[in-house]
Symmetry: C4
Subunit: 310 residues, 4 copies
């Protein structure tokens, strides 16, 4: 039984067969290169999630368009009921009257209620009372959406654009760097790196977890160089740059941390392909003491210099 | 002591005696077939939880009805105080006057306040000031309820309708599939499967955890086939289909994951009964490469083909 | 070193000396019988926590009082500026004018704004604009407070009023029962029981964790009997009822679970003193099959019957 | 491989070289003495986080200033459109008219809408309808910000100002005290203490975790004395006070707990430098029994008395 049981890491649930040619399963921004199709609409639908994760421009477009359409709708109703049921209107032409109804609707749904124009009689009053309730509920929803959008803990972990193969003690190591550019403190940070590679003469791919020099830190106030020492136990042992391409390596990075400012866990993912790995380079030290304070120059995260490999 | 200590899994806290006949303890939708009775009202009551989990139609019905009743209530008070204490009313008949009071109340509780009708004198002003405060608080509550309803992390994990007994390496396995049809990423996904069965010549039921080929994945972007290998250690070892019915098997599935979009843990449950298990079938591969992207056809989650059992 | 290191459980951080006489450290409702004094005001202060945890009656009292006082304050300002700067006032006497100002303030702070009375001139307008902003912010705060009050996950776990010493296999056990009377599902429930007792001829108290037959369940849909088997390893071994009083036992129960409806962890605590323990009683089975559904009679949680101890 | 792998604790990710001279890496208030520079603006930016963590005075200043500027902006637009498009204005001079526009804007953005002044004609109505929508959205944002500010779980753990080297059984110990001065219950509290010290004749610093007498408690209702026994395995073994300065010790404390009132994890950090350590002192017992209740005198957290070291 034991040898059939696999280690608990990600082969993306695709089985070993899925990603057989040279392509990227995990994009650099952490999204997956996998698309689900033929999902029944109501299983896929998640109204709140969609509105919380869409782009800001789309979100505001959605709100403004909605505001316009709803007012158009209610203006039509007021016009059908008859503008004479709205006191104080001064519009003469049908267009002017419709505009009065339109702006009366806007003043009602926002609960602004100037009162220059006000409903008179049962029908207009019923519609106005309904519209103002709808306005309050829509606004309640907007409050929730805005809060949801803003409070969603977003880890903006910055990874070095490239990884390097650099000397490490008396062997070499696979290394990359990361930093949290924001002010929120990340705590209990865990990093996990695995590599996916083509199996020889086969369509299948194998997945290996890479042992790290350190995979967990309690604090993460500065830049952190992740190191996988390429020793005899490493799946990278004795492989040269050409083999990385031949085996179509994909290094998969996953980070998990507690975000102190939101009180929630945040996750971050990235990946490295062979063309993003530099051989015989080592990262340059980016910390400096200035007036008793340590400063980290974030812009130097990708800076490296030549280094003789072991 | 050691042998008396039980493994920590679920027998539903019913003791071993509870579910002795052929019935389902856990429904397919993850709810339990267990009802608690004679709970004192105030221990059972959870106002917020009720309003957050009730159906949308009931929720809006509740709000609209509440809005109507509260306005009726305040309209009555204004009518009792006397409509002459509301300026600008034009109603002649008592009904028209009550309607004026009713819509004035609606304009007050929503803080719309057109002002065509406005309170005059101490009593009407006190009621109106109270009503507008009540309106703001109610609306604050509605905001919270709507946010609570929408932000509640709901895992809509889709399980294959049936499980299969399929060949697995040189033995057979108990298998089913699952997928997350939504766009939110699930991470650190853990699955636990146990089986409950009737004890021979007894009313009691036994519970066993099933060893899985893999019970944890870091990412879950695609379809995942859960496999319990039926080897010599399995409680299913050497049992045929008829025994599954005779022992009245119930397979209980529990899934736990971190939902990246909400930043919270989500749980999902399901179950399989013998009539939902197909023998000598294996699931069909549902992933495909299209233009360098892997696509998963979610609609094929239940698709299987005949397979010779070992 | 090893023998100096203590197990990680609670002696309430009081050191071994604190609770030397017959008294209760943990109340039945889960609160601690410990008071902190001389805390600097600003360290103790937690405005939001206070308003979220105070009783509903106090909370509404606070809001209504605040509403009244703020309006009084602004009415005074408007009166000082001069009621002639509010259009539409009809008050003649100073009292009537102050009332007009008071209700104008209420209409402003709730953003109701009927407009029968409206500010005129710079000073009155500045105050009104300020007041309406203050109103919006106060209301924003009230929204947050109401949401905070309602969404706070409250576990209302119900413990049996008494514990029992009952036969358990060929020995005896210390047992009590618990149930979740509410509809929200509790998952991954962990229970921890420890006992605190007076040391012989000493003021000190010792703390022991009690081994449980089962200390964790995945689901908790029904009633759960917690069992500590009193075997040779138990600190209760060979003790009779009188010793429980002599040693001034306090059984301390702590429960931890994931609340599916709120997506958060919930904790619950309770305790048993010797006078709440019945000897030679066992709990009566409270589950029943009705129309294919298991029903749990919550009202029978305390029901027990005589049982011969081993 | 094994000996190259480091323990998973914090050296601040600076590598061993970073903090080579006598300075403090972690401030007493838990912030880090590390500054990140040259961060691209959009990576650093976190609008919500900034507004949620800024000081209250800055937060209210931001809101009031924003309110003023937005009204100024809209007043200008109304003035450009022409004040004759606002009914009911009484201003004569351009300044008075601009003021009318300004306060009309304030009444619109807060959805107050007295209606003494109201928009007339298409342009003014379009601007007013837009402004009231903007007002609602801004207010929705303010609600979220206020909720975010208040609900953010803030652990105000109070540490003793000094640590002591005190007798502990037959050896000595490094000790400090902590207490939670607030009413919210902290549960499952974990403490971790490490020490950073200069390496001999080197710029490098070493980090060591200190073994604690107890590093975890289930409850934390009172004062807790953290004890590191200085035995033969301790990095502090046989060091005198002068060595603490020579090696430029920094004791780093990290606390992690579940905050029952917010349902979230909270973290707290502090540090001790040699000048904050008193030798041959022990903390005074601060708990007392009063009327059957244990009282903890928080103000005595720093109180210690002379004690003969072993």
């Amino acid at each position: 039984m034991a040898k059939r049981k696999k280690d608990s890491f990600s082969d993306f649930g695709l089985g070993e067969k899925s990603s057989s040619e040279g392509y990227r399963a995990l994009n650099k921004d952490g999204s997956f290169n996998i698309e689900k199709i033929n999902i029944p609409f109501f299983e896929r639908l998640n109204f709140f999630h969609t509105l919380v994760t869409m782009k800001w421009s789309h979100f505001f477009g959605f709100i403004i368009l909605g505001y316009f359409i709803v007012n158009l709708f209610f203006a039509t109703i007021y016009a059908l009921i008859g503008v004479e049921n709205l006191t104080g209107t001064r519009g003469m032409t049908p267009f002017e009257q419709f505009m009065e109804a339109f702006f009366f609707s806007a003043q009602t749904i926002t609960t602004l209620g100037y009162g220059r124009v006000a409903p008179l009689g049962l029908p207009a009053n019923i519609v106005a009372a309904t519209e103002s309730l709808l306005g309050l509920l829509s606004f309640a929803l907007a409050t929730g959406l805005l809060y949801g959008r803003f409070s969603k803990p977003v880890s903006k972990i910055k990874y070095s654009d490239k990884a390097v193969i650099a000397p490490y003690h008396d062997i070499n190591g696979f290394m990359f760097r990361l930093i949290n550019p924001q002010k929120n403190e990340l705590l209990d940070v865990e990093v996990n790196v695995s590599v996916s590679m083509k199996r020889k003469n086969s369509e299948l791919r194998d997945f290996h977890i890479l042992e790290l020099e350190r995979d967990k830190v309690r604090f993460f106030p500065s830049m952190w160089t992740i190191v996988h020492p390429i020793d005899a136990n490493s799946p990278l042992f004795n492989l040269d740059e050409r083999s990385y391409y031949a085996k179509d390596f994909e290094f998969i990075v996953m980070l998990k941390a507690f975000d102190e400012s939101s009180g929630q866990m945040v996750y971050s993912r990235s990946s490295y392909k062979p063309e993003e790995i530099e051989w015989g380079q080592k990262f340059v030290y980016a910390a400096q003491r200035l007036n008793g304070k340590t400063t980290i120059d974030v812009s130097r995260i990708n800076e490296s210099e030549a280094a003789q490999l072991n």
